[in-house]
């Protein structure tokens, strides 16, 4: 086990998959000569050449669609869309084509494509460059949607996504690239469609994913140390398919749940989690499932406004305490 960054884990996995399978190739804006906006592909052009590390013009709809066609002929394109905000321009190809082709043609074709793209706010990139749009993709049958929160899952889920024969939205987070963690050596694949209990606990469950899952884990540890509250943390990892049983198992044990998500509250990922819990663990719930999410406003540039709009540890702590108090819980 080596301790490396989330960025390094992604880079190493791309490199390993390129070496393993000649049908795997990378496509995207500025991933070659420029080495990627966030340097995930640094050095790969030199190592694998322009056919396999292909710089594209700025044409998201065009090159994502091209990757789909290449995948239909049996190649395994791994596309980088610079940020999820730009994936909107490729959405017709992703949703009306990649997600439909296998089913709509009666199973005759497969679309083994991976779309890597980072989301997330908090870097003062303002309203159009800070969005968390994963719930849109999570809603679409035919897609698989994964969002690793640790370097290990970044490696394991990326390998699984590249080897999967369905279109996978592999959603990263700008603020995770420099985070570090232990990563298993060698070939390491994480099953798509399974959530992870990243910390066991008995008093309350926090359900989260991506960067917020890291925040949740941190808060959980603090609560245990400082206040002796035993918090269980569920990291969804996969939004489609959604691992409902792992969530419900945890809440049936703790009887209380809070969702921490970075997207906008209404119709966000947390809505599905809360809806799932109240249906699947109704008789076990001691208090309503609360959601800690972003304020519903296009994210402002100015730092004080951005900070006010985004969820954080403080807001999570507040809601955990309110939830415990609602059940007259004494830690």
């Amino acid at each position: 086990m080596a301790v490396i960054t989330y960025r390094q884990a992604l880079h190493d996995t791309l490199r390993a998959e390129l070496a393993r399978d000649p049908g795997v190739f990378l496509m995207g804006e500025e991933i070659g000569v420029f080495e990627g906006s966030y340097k995930i592909t640094a050095g790969l052009l030199t190592e694998f050449g322009p056919e396999r590390v292909r710089d594209t013009p700025i044409a998201e709809e065009g090159f994502v669609g091209a990757a789909i066609g290449a995948a239909m002929l049996g190649l395994r394109p791994v596309v980088e869309i610079m940020t999820i905000n730009f994936s909107i321009l490729a959405m017709d190809q992703i949703v009306n084509h990649a997600a439909k082709i296998h089913t709509m043609f009666g199973g005759q074709s497969r679309v083994p494509i991976v779309i890597r793209t980072p989301g997330g706010g908090g870097q003062q990139l303002a309203a159009t460059h800070s969005q968390n749009l994963e719930v849109w993709y999570a809603h679409v049958p035919g897609l698989k949607v994964v969002m690793p929160s640790t370097p290990a899952d970044a490696k394991g889920l990326l390998a699984a996504s590249i080897r999967d024969d369905d279109p996978v939205m592999f959603i990263e987070h700008l603020a995770l690239y420099n985070t570090k963690g232990e990563v298993p050596d060698g070939d390491y694949v994480t099953e798509i469609g399974k959530a992870a209990v990243t910390k066991a606990g008995t008093d309350i469950t926090i359900v989260s994913y991506s960067r917020m899952a890291a925040v949740a884990l941190d808060v959980a540890r603090r609560l245990e140390e400082d206040e002796g509250i035993s918090v269980e943390v569920v990291d969804l990892r996969s939004l489609r398919p959604l691992d409902r049983s792992t969530i419900l198992q945890s809440v049936r044990k703790t009887g209380k749940a809070v969702v921490l998500e970075e997207d906008w509250l209404s119709y966000g990922v947390g809505a599905e989690i809360a809806a799932t819990i109240q249906e699947g663990a109704f008789d076990y719930l001691d208090a309503p499932v609360r959601r800690v999410a972003a304020a519903e406003i296009p994210l402002p540039y100015a730092k004080p406004l951005e900070l006010a709009a985004l969820p954080d540890a403080t807001a999570l702590l507040k809601v955990i305490h309110e939830t415990l108090d609602a059940t007259r819980f004494r830690g």
């Binding site: 013009p57 065009g62 066609g69 190809q93 084509h97 074709s109 698989k144 369905d166 419900l248």
Partner: protein, 365 residues
């Protein structure tokens, strides 16, 4: 080549060859007759489809190739079996011309398990792996990026040459105004991909004429923004269409030079079977009737002695029998059963994949 064609190929008569030769230099009469048979087959298939739609055997949207028979037969005859074809939702004729058993196409329109897409796609979404028809697509312009990507896969696998694969991407005139067309042509140009973009210019979107929608109504010139060559051909001239496509494919295969091929024709009826085309004048309708490419080709073959009236009538009768058989095959084929709803959900099975029906509790076993 569709079974339909092989049949007549034997019936050639040398006596007629001379007259034919002058009208169709270098064309074996058998081939001309096969062209007619296939055009007639598409014509009658579409007319029966329209009938079946009225009788509610077919649902959803249904767009016909009426008026595009010569274009389709000519263009498709230039493709090699290993070439890939991507089309729009107006593709029944292309599927027939690619040699797919017409009964399986009619069955798809009927939504039956014996259909080319097993009833999942319907009229707009015909797909067949063997025929390398990689799909009809209903989103305007949607087929263009994937077709371009298929050409990228061919280029990824090796250099060009006379026997290499190529991609044909068919689209309509009004589709040249959408962004996906521009982005795709640019990719094909800078990456030198083996693809031919065939623009079927039937002069209308749904009701909008080309010159009202396109800043450059000479559509074959629109590749100028990518230094991509283009040519225009008379879509009512089956031989000219084949020749133009043959050259465009040669460019794609041997020089990896993508190009635009514009084929002009006239849509004989409404945009889809439910469109009465009120926006057309009586004169226009009459003019179109006179331009009917199937009738015109039939007459020309008889005038030039390629066919005599009896043979022509026999072909028509054979086609009639064949199309009736298609309808019977479709109608007697089974409907997909509801318990198959999730049969094609994912290509790679995955944990926790949803399989609930409306009203099922979450996590139904």
């Amino acid at each position: 080549m569709p079974p339909a064609q092989q049949k007549t190929a034997t019936r050639a008569k040398t006596s007629t060859k001379t007259a034919a030769r002058s009208a169709f230099p270098g064309e074996p009469v058998e081939r001309l007759r096969d062209y007619y048979r296939e055009m007639q087959l598409i014509r009658r298939f579409e007319e029966r489809a329209s009938e079946m739609y009225q009788r509610a055997k077919i649902g959803g949207y249904c767009h016909l190739n009426l008026g595009e028979e010569a274009t389709i037969v000519g263009l498709m005859d230039a493709l090699a079996p290993h070439d890939y074809l991507f089309t729009t939702y107006r593709e029944h004729g292309y599927a027939i011309a690619r040699g797919i058993e017409p009964g399986r196409i009619m069955a798809e329109l009927f939504g039956r398990t014996t259909g080319v897409s097993k009833g999942w796609g319907g009229s707009m979404h015909l797909f067949d792996v063997e025929a390398r028809l990689l799909g009809g697509y209903g989103i305007v312009g949607g087929q263009i990026p994937p077709a371009t990507g298929a050409a990228l896969a061919i280029a990824y696998r090796g250099p060009g040459g006379p026997d290499t694969e190529a991609v044909v991407c068919q689209l309509g005139d009004a589709t040249t105004n959408i962004g996906a067309w521009h982005e795709s042509l640019n990719l094909a140009a800078i990456w030198r991909l083996p693809i031919v973009y065939v623009v079927i210019n039937n002069h209308l979107g749904m009701g909008t004429p080309v010159e009202k929608a396109a800043g450059e109504p000479d559509l074959y010139k629109r590749g100028a923004a990518f230094r991509m060559p283009g040519v225009r051909v008379d879509g009512n001239d089956v031989v000219a269409c084949r020749e133009a496509m043959t050259e465009a494919l040669r460019l794609a295969r041997e020089e990896r030079q993508p190009s635009i091929l514009e084929a002009t024709s006239w849509r004989l009826r409404g945009h889809s079977v439910v469109d009465p085309a009120k926006y057309r004048t009586k004169e226009e309708v009459q003019r179109l009737h006179d331009l009917d490419p199937v009738a015109a080709f039939r007459k020309k073959l008889i005038d030039t002695g390629v066919l005599d009236a009896v043979e022509a009538a026999r072909i028509d009768a054979d086609v009639e029998v064949q199309v009736n058989a298609c309808v019977e095959f479709a109608d007697s084929s089974p409907n997909p059963s509801p318990d198959q709803l999730f049969a094609h959900a994912y290509a790679t099975p995955v944990a926790n994949a949803p399989h609930e029906l409306p009203g099922d509790p979450l996590l139904s076993a």
